[in-house]
Subunit: 182 residues, 2 copies
């Protein structure tokens, strides 16, 4: 099931630009840059995800570089929360915790400052896109390593055919726009 | 001269965490993660930079990955603007323009979608930190390649001793917090 596409009177789906064969042949890339460059679509996206953050009682939003940084802090502002950053290894300057995740070939990792999430804090995991779920699951792991609770996982887009939700079983998941096929 | 440190009643400077010897010995890293994780400091930073965007008549905000993504879209929302993304080569899916800039050793480049800035649009260049000015100057170049006008350059932090403003001569520059020494 696809999520509805209208938020605050804005037909968000019409702002997603489909780029065929990027980054490789056969893949239809969902380009979100038109959402960001439109004041109305940006506001509608952030408001809908901030509503979700409030609905699940989030106190903190977490997002990973680079694309999780685009809407994460704006969602945090909209919901009266703070934003915490997960980065690639070696980028964060203070002491960190780490979570690894599988890529198509090999593994990658994300790090989070060890004081970024207070014990018991309710955290919303955010990314622009839910694909196979590896990044989102790593963010959930980081939150739980620090004793936080994953209040929910909120995305702008879900590529439903990649079944990333299966990796997030047990967590509440919300995507504004779902795509049933590539 | 350092900029004052209080914005909307929030002493922003107290939220900057100094990390000695990162990323290498002798460098004092300005860690902005406590600004982002505090709802009050995040709001104060974004409001002050959105005020600057309105003051210079910006219609669009531009920022580069990854750290320019953190506040850029929130500033855009606060000022009623859209946000456009500059990324490292090969990351943006549509047709792009490119600007190169010097690193300590070698060069790097940023790309921008060729339809991201309308001819004549007034654009605010944003990054979290003004250091040597290479990234900000590359952003100015990208804006001008597409026929836009750089309305101003707005930063959270300026490392004044690195003299990045010299690279931005002719542009209006505002930093919320200035540091006179490393």
């Amino acid at each position: 099931m696809s999520a509805p596409g209208a938020f605050g009177g804005v037909e968000l789906r019409s702002y997603i630009r489909e780029i065929p064969d990027f980054p490789k042949e056969g893949v239809g890339f969902k380009d979100i840059t038109p959402v960001l460059s439109s004041p109305e679509a940006l506001q509608a996206s952030v408001s809908a995800l901030a509503d979700y953050a409030r609905e699940v009682g989030a106190e903190v939003i977490i997002g990973a570089e680079a694309r999780g940084f685009l809407l994460g802090p704006a969602i945090a502002l909209g919901a009266g929360c703070g934003f915490v950053l997960a980065r690639k290894p070696g980028k964060l300057p203070y002491t960190t915790v780490r979570a690894e995740y599988l890529l198509e070939y090999g593994t990658d990792a994300l790090e989070l400052h060890s004081d970024a999430v207070a014990h018991g804090a309710r955290v919303l995991v955010h990314d622009d896109l839910l694909a196979t779920g590896g990044t989102a699951k790593a963010l959930c792991d980081l939150v739980e390593q620090l004793g936080g609770t994953v209040a929910g996982c909120g995305f702008l887009i879900e590529l439903e055919f990649l079944e990333g939700r299966a990796k997030l079983e047990g967590f509440d998941v919300r995507a504004l726009l779902g795509y049933e096929a590539g």
